[in-house]
Structures are given as C-alpha cells and as structure tokens.
C-alpha cells in the first residue's frame, strides 16, 4: 500500500486563454482509492485526459511504476495499464457487451486474416463471464448495450477497462447518473477491486462520496492543487472551502414554509411516449402556494414528460392540469405564461435559451411583444437593454456586456439568465427542472437561495431533480416517480435518503400514493 504506481510531476496544460493545469503533482499508491475533488472547470478532467493520452501536456512527465511513461494516445495508456471509465459512457449502443469489449483489440479465430478474420465472440464472452465473476461485476455478455440500465452500462464500462488489462482505473464522475443504491454498489465494487490489487483514481465533486470511499483526497481549484489530505483529517465544510476557495453554505437555510391554497393540481395525468406506451401513468398531485414540491427519481422515469405536459410542450392523453382551478390541460406555452406559469427547463441550451441571441433578447423571450418592450408593431431596444441591465445586476449574471450572444456565457450564468427571465414576471407557479445540473458550488448556492425566495413570496414551486440531496435540502414535500408513476409522497420532515432510494429503485410502493392533496 506504499509503493506509488502512478506519479504526475509538474503537469502543465494551456488551452487558448485558459491555464487548465498549472504544474500539477499527484501520486497514486498501489491498492488505493485516491479521490480528485474539484468544481467544474477546476481541471480534473483535463488532467485525467492527459494521463489517458487524450491530451498532450505542455510540460511535465508521467511515471508509471517509477518508470517514465510516454503516453501519446489511449493505446499507450492501456499498454501502461491505465484505463479510464468516462463520465459519458463510451459504449456503442447498438452493439452487444462482447462486441464493445473486444472493440479495438479484437480476437479472431480460424484463418489468420488480420482485419478480415472471423471475430471470436464465443471466446470473448466466456472471458467476460469469468472476469465478471472474479470481480463481482455481473453482466450478460450477449446483451445489447442499449437495453441495459445505467448501472449495468457502468459495470460494462468498468469490465471493459479490466478486460483490457488495466491496473490503474480512472473513474470520471461515475456517480453522476446513479441512484443512491447503485452508488453504494459501485463503492462496494471499488473496494473489491482495490482488494484484488487494483488502484483507483476517483474524480468527483460530491463531498459526501469522497468521505465515504476515498483513502486520500487531492483537491484541485482553477488548475492548481490546493492540497492533499485524508478523509479523517478534514470535515465537509473544510473540504468545501478548499474546493471553492471560500466558506460555503452547504445546506440551504430554507426556513419555515407557509403553504396556502392549491395552485397547481394534476389529476390522473397520462402522457404517451415514443412508442405510445404511457411514460407518465395516472399521476396525481398538488402544489400549494408558498411550498416547494420536489419530485425525486432516477432519470428517465417520466419526470421529463410530466414537466413537458404541465408546461405545454407535450400533449397528454387523459387526466387534467389546473392552475388556480382553471383547466389548462394541453394549452400552449404562451397561454400558460399568461396563466402565471414559469418554466426553467431541464436542458437549458436546447429549451431554455436561444443560444445565438444576445443576453438582453433572451431575457425578454416571453414578454417581447408586451409593454414596455413593444407597442405591438416595433420592439423598443432601449427598454430591452434597460431591463437586461437591471436583471444582470439583480441576479449577479457575470457577462461583459448584455449584447453578446448568450452562448458565450458559462453554464452557471446561462442558468441565471433563464431564472432571471422567469422570476422577473408576475408568476404563480414555478416549474424548475434540474436547476443546478453541471453548475459549480457558488452558482448552486445562489440558485437555491432564489428558489427559496420565490417560495417565500407565495409562488408554488415544482422542483424536479435527479440530485437527491437537492430535493432533500429544498423541498417541503417530496414525491417519487418510478416507471411513470408517482410511487410515494412524503413530507420532507419524514423523508430519509434510504427510504427515498428504495422508492426510486422501484423496490417499494406506498399504498397511499396517487392520493391528491387539496
């Protein structure tokens, strides 16, 4: 446990205009889980891509087992025993597990025809089976990848790296897509791997996970190493401060909510999916003024379609949606905006903004035709600009100018533009889907505060997030969606991570679910 298997010495990498890695030193010991912690843009992924041969460092060197290693491309990395599990799976969906694992290093049988030899699927699938048994990673080698669950696909990714003979595994944000139970399983797998002689670099921005599984922690900030420590030596707040560079409030002070009458009521709503099977199935719930109703669930269990049906982007086939008693089922987005609905969509770049438009134009996307921005014939640019300047100051949007395209802003600032636009109108209901996906701790803190403020002003908030922590820290009541149904509804005070996790995985169904509160 003491010999370093991987050492990075003074790795420096520039991108045009950015110093992504500044003279980084890092070492990984044998049979160790070493966490690399940092915000988005701290340089974690860049560093790992250098180790894996996808980027070339400007300077610095890499030592594997105390030997300098010349890693030019992923093949060199694999030869040196380094394998990477990417955040976005690098699996071909239409191919089988076996085909995905053999890709790039195919085994053939029969005549030695090189690239035109016959693929030996049988042999490889047997190897995968025995490898899976050895490390407790069970998958069906003949299954097609697109039919696998996210957790299974990740096991395939890890198997792929092991199959290629890696001893050093780099896991890039592996828990981003997993349920709490799947995360726990992953940690078990990681411990088992380390027990069998592997070493793991675990990249993440989640403090809790680092403390749960890592032997050592290296924190990166703005391309530099802030420090290396162990989980026992620091508490969560200290780690967060190292990561962000200042003290951060990890839990939102959400105060007391004062719910009033029902604003949004959804009754027996059913929404068809691509193949006409219901993806939202007979869902009923209500959201009151001045409360935050959180919907938890693993991605792809109907949350997206539910939000689209409520916000007028998709048609439902049965059931109805009411805002303040008025039936708004299947109305279009503009009529819904008039009814007092604000929507912060899941995919901010696709549905939230017109990326090529300026910041000021994006801030009036729903109101450009109304006073004072227009008199019905012309748009008044000076009013638009005045409005933009006001909102930029109020919502702390960091932009050099309000006339530049919104595409040149960072993700956090783009999200702030959407939130500023939605909250600057007189609204009754805020539907906010994945409000902080991919954002840094600072922006998350700001956005959470704004959501609480909106609630305190008497807005009914429907919050949808795959981050269970976000749901738990903001919501007053929590509904859990599984397989298109609302399988549980729990007051926040009674909600526990474990219980929610079981509901999210579909392992338990509450008897009293689907009961409308009004």
């Amino acid at each position: 446990m003491t010999t370093p298997v991987l050492q990075l010495e003074n790795i420096t990498k520039h991108f045009p205009g950015v110093l992504a890695n500044a003279s980084i030193c890092f070492d990984l010991l044998s049979q160790e889980i070493h966490a690399v912690l940092g915000e988005n843009g701290a340089g974690k992924t860049t560093l790992m891509n250098i180790v894996y041969g996808l980027y070339k460092p400007d300077s610095g060197r890499i030592l594997v087992n105390n030997e300098p290693a010349d890693i030019e491309d992923p093949n060199d990395a694999l030869r040196a025993g380094i394998g990477m599990v990417h955040q976005h799976f690098k699996l071909v969906p239409v191919m089988t597990v076996t085909e995905n694992l053999m890709l790039g290093h195919e085994k053939t049988r029969g005549l030695p025809l090189g690239m035109l030899g016959r693929l030996d699927r049988k042999q490889v699938s047997q190897e995968i089976r025995s490898l899976g048994e050895r490390y407790g990673l069970r998958v069906d080698p003949d299954a097609t990848v697109e039919d696998l669950s996210v957790g299974e696909a990740q096991r395939v990714e890890i198997l792929k790296v092991l199959y290629k003979g890696a001893d050093i595994l780099i896991l890039d944000e592996p828990t981003a897509v997993l349920t709490p139970q799947e995360t726990e399983e992953l940690f078990e797998i990681m411990r088992a791997l380390v027990g069998q002689g592997k070493s793991i670099i675990f990249i993440t921005h989640k403090l809790k996970e680092v403390r749960a599984v890592a032997n050592r922690i290296t924190v990166l900030r703005q391309g530099k190493v802030v420090g290396t420590t162990t989980p026992d030596a620091v508490n969560m707040a200290e780690l967060a401060a190292m990561m962000v560079g200042r003290a951060v409030l990890l839990t939102v002070d959400r105060g007391q909510s004062h719910p009033k009458g029902v604003v949004l009521s959804v009754e027996k709503l059913t929404v068809p999916g691509k193949s006409n099977q219901p993806v939202v199935n007979d869902v009923s719930f209500g959201v009151r003024a001045g409360e935050i109703y959180g919907i938890a669930g693993v991605q792809g269990n109907g949350q997206t379609e539910l939000v689209e049906a409520i916000t007028g982007l998709k048609k439902s086939v049965s059931g109805n949606v009411k805002i303040l008693g008025k039936d708004i089922t299947n109305l279009g987005p503009r009529l819904l905006a008039h009814a007092g609905l604000a929507h912060v969509p899941e995919d901010r770049q696709k549905h939230g903004l017109v990326l090529a438009f300026s910041v000021e134009a994006n801030l009036v996307l729903e109101t450009y035709y109304q006073q004072p921005f227009s008199d019905g014939w012309w748009i008044h640019p000076q009013e638009m600009r005045k409005n933009a300047k006001k909102l930029v100051a109020e919502f702390d949007i960091r932009t050099p100018s309000v006339s530049i395209p919104v595409s040149s802003l960072s993700g956090g600032n783009q999200q702030k533009v959407i939130i500023a636009r939605e909250l600057s109108r007189a609204i009754k209901l805020l539907v906010i889907n994945q409000p902080t996906r991919g954002l840094d701790v600072g922006s998350i803190e700001f956005i959470h505060k704004r959501i609480i403020e909106a609630r305190d002003q008497g807005v009914a908030v429907l919050l949808i997030s795959v981050e269970l922590d976000e749901i738990l820290s903001l919501s007053d009541r929590i509904g859990v969606m599984y397989n298109g149904r609302m399988v549980a509804e729990i007051p926040a005070s009674a909600a526990k991570r474990e219980t929610l996790g079981y509901y999210m995985a579909g392992l338990r169904v509450e008897q009293s679910a689907n009961k409308n509160v009004s």
Binding site: K90, M95, L103, G104, L113, L116
Partner: protein, 377 residues
C-alpha cells in the same frame, strides 16, 4: 415458367447490378459515418473513365491484344478514378469538415460537367468507339439448373463479382474486426477513439473503398451494358442506389434484395415496350413478385441478420409459395386484352416501395453518428 419470365428475371439481375454496387458504396461510407450522396457522380466518372480507358487502350494498341484486356484496363481505370473522386469527398467532409450533403452535391455537379465537356471534346469529334462488352460466361453445371441457372448463372463476370461481393461484405461488416471498427466509428466515434481506433483514418479508408465500388457500378454500365459512353448515362441510378441502401437497412444482402425489386421494375419497363405482353398479366406478375419478395426478405432476415422479431418461418414460406403459385396460375389464365399505359405499370413497384418504406416496414434507423465530422473535445 415461360421464357418471358425467365428473361425478365435475368434482365432484372443485370439492371440491379449497378444499383447494388452503388448501394455498397453508400453502405461503406454511411456505416463509417460519412453521408455519400455523390454516388451518382462517382458512378458517372467511373463510367466515363472506364470507357476512355478501354477505348483508348484498344485504339493505341490496335488489335495486338484481345479486346477483353482493353476492357479490364478500362475497368481498372474507371475504378481508380471513382476512388479518387471519393477521396476528394473524403478530404472535403472529413478533413475540412464541409457539410457532407453539400460535398456530395458538388461532386455530382462536377462529374456531370466534366464528363459532359470531355465527351464533347474527346469522344464526339473523333467518333471514338468502344471495344465492346464483356462476354457472357455461363458457369458450368450451375447454369444447367432449370430456371435459376438461366437467371443467376448465365451472366457477365461483373454480375458474378457482385454476388461474391455482397456475400463477402455481409460477412465482413458483421463478423470481422474491420467491420466492427467501421460500425463503431459510424455509431459512436468517441467510443472508438477511446479504445485507440483512428476515427478519421477508418472513415477515409471506407469512403475511398466505397468510391471504388461506385466506380465498378459505373464501369458496368459501359463495359457490360451498352459498350459506349453516353452523357449523363447514370440517369439517377446513384440516387436510386441510396434508396436501395436505406430499403436494405444498410446491409449488403438487404441492399441486394432491394436492388432486385428496383431492377425488376426497370426490366419490366424495358420489356413492356416490346408490346407482346398482356398488361393485365404483367400487373398480376408484379404483385406476385412483390409477395414473393416480401416472403424472401422475411426469410433471409431471420437467417442472416439474426433478427428475433421477424415473422415466423411458416408465414414467410407461405408468402413465397403464394407468390410462386400466382406466377404459375397467371400463366394458365387467358387475360382479356386491356391496355394500361406502360408508365403506370412501371410505376407500381415504386409505389409499393414507398408504401413499404413508410408503413409496412418498421422505421429504418441509420448509423447514429452519420453526417457529423468527428472532433475530439
């Protein structure tokens, strides 16, 4: 089975051959992620250069060699030229990341313009004539099989080569490292990249190989069909080849079957102009052939493409039986004389194709990363 039908099917194979070559070109490109709508242009260049190569070789060497040698030389030149044009498409769309549809269109326009001009300057004034076409080579024994022997095994060499190529590529795309890599590059290039596959090199190789196949298709029109070059002689076959590729779901065997259907339509159109076939009889034959085709496709799908969800064996076999019975029955019935405009009869297979593509066959899904240049993040 009578002489007319056998002749018709035999002609259908001939008419299908350039379509198959064109579709294979499309399959190699698109399976590796590059759209190729320049097949038409590549075929046209292939046809022109094959003609020029064989005609000039024949003219310069006089009668010193057998005309077949001139044809082989022409074939090689046609294939190489089309591969060069494909290389241009590859450079434009892979290296310079130009929109692949536009690059393909450019190639079509370029090929039409260049061959038109060159034909005006080099062929018309000197009355350059071709050296004929490849002879028919009946395969011993196999060509003696009743009906099938006449249809499949009494053809010209490039037709046999096409049969072999279809079988070989069907095997290679799904069962060799080369095929696995090509498909991975077309489906998820960054996955291929992370396991050390050179995405752009893979695409270059396959687009250029595809161009060579399109060149074969073009050369076929000259060297095994008419024996001389006519302006714009591909007449949209490159585009029909694209439809054939999609109808065949990006598989060689699928494309071969689809091409047979289109080839049959073309053959029928040609044959009906002789005026000795009863139109109602032709109509029944078309329907019977389509029923036969649907059954055969279902059968082959459950074999070759290992599709689990296809129709059962019984249904497929009874479709084939029904089609064959109708063909035989149609021969025995005396149809009343009735003139349907020839063009309508020729249209029927296309209309049924459209119906099949839109409704009956489930949606055809192409490679996922098609048309997108690969960029590392």
């Amino acid at each position: 089975m009578d002489v007319i039908l056998v002749g018709l099917f035999s002609l259908a194979i001939i008419k299908a051959t350039p379509l198959v070559y064109g579709a294979l070109c499309g399959i190699l490109g698109e399976r590796s992620g590059v759209i190729n709508i320049g097949i038409e242009g590549m075929m046209l260049i292939g046809a022109f250069m094959a003609f020029m190569g064989s005609a000039l070789f024949g003219k310069w060497t006089g009668a010193a060699f057998s005309p077949n040698l001139a044809l082989i030389v022409g074939l090689a030149i046609g294939v190489l030229s089309a591969a060069l044009v494909a290389a241009l498409h590859a450079v434009l769309s892979i290296h310079y990341k130009i929109d692949q549809v536009i690059s393909g269109t450019v190639i079509n326009l370029l090929a039409a313009g260049i061959t038109d001009y060159a034909a005006n300057v080099y062929i018309d004034p000197s009355h350059l004539s071709g050296v004929g076409v490849f002879p028919e080579v009946p395969i011993p024994l196999l060509s003696q099989i009743p009906i099938l022997g006449k249809i499949f095994f009494s053809q010209q060499p490039m037709v046999y080569f096409m049969f072999g190529l279809v079988i070989f590529l069907q095997y290679a795309i799904f069962n060799t490292p080369w095929g696995l890599r090509m498909r991975s590059v077309g489906e998820h290039p960054s996955a291929a990249d992370t396991v050390g596959i050179n995405v752009n090199r893979t695409r270059y190789i396959n687009v250029i190989l595809g161009g060579a196949l399109a060149g074969l298709g073009g050369a076929f029109l000259v060297l095994e069909s008419v024996g001389r070059f006519q302006k714009l002689m591909t007449a949209g076959r490159g585009f029909i080849a694209l439809a054939v590729m999609i109808f065949g779901r990006w598989t060689p065997v699928g494309a071969f079957l689809a091409a047979l259907l289109f080839g049959f339509a073309e053959a029928l159109g040609v044959r009906l102009q002789f005026g000795d076939i009863n139109h109602l009889y032709a109509l029944v034959v078309i329907i019977a052939v389509i029923v036969l085709f649907v059954g055969a496709v279902g059968l082959i799908r459950s074999w070759v493409i290992r599709s689990r969800s296809s129709r059962s064996l019984v249904v497929n076999l009874s479709l084939i039986g029904l089609g064959a019975l109708t063909l035989i029955a149609a021969k025995l019935i005396q149809f009343p004389d009735m003139a349907i405009p020839i063009e309508f009869l020729g249209l029927l297979p296309y209309i049924l194709t459209i119906l099949a593509l839109t409704g009956l066959v489930r949606k055809a899904v192409g490679p996922a990363a098609i048309g997108r240049p690969y960029e590392k993040q």
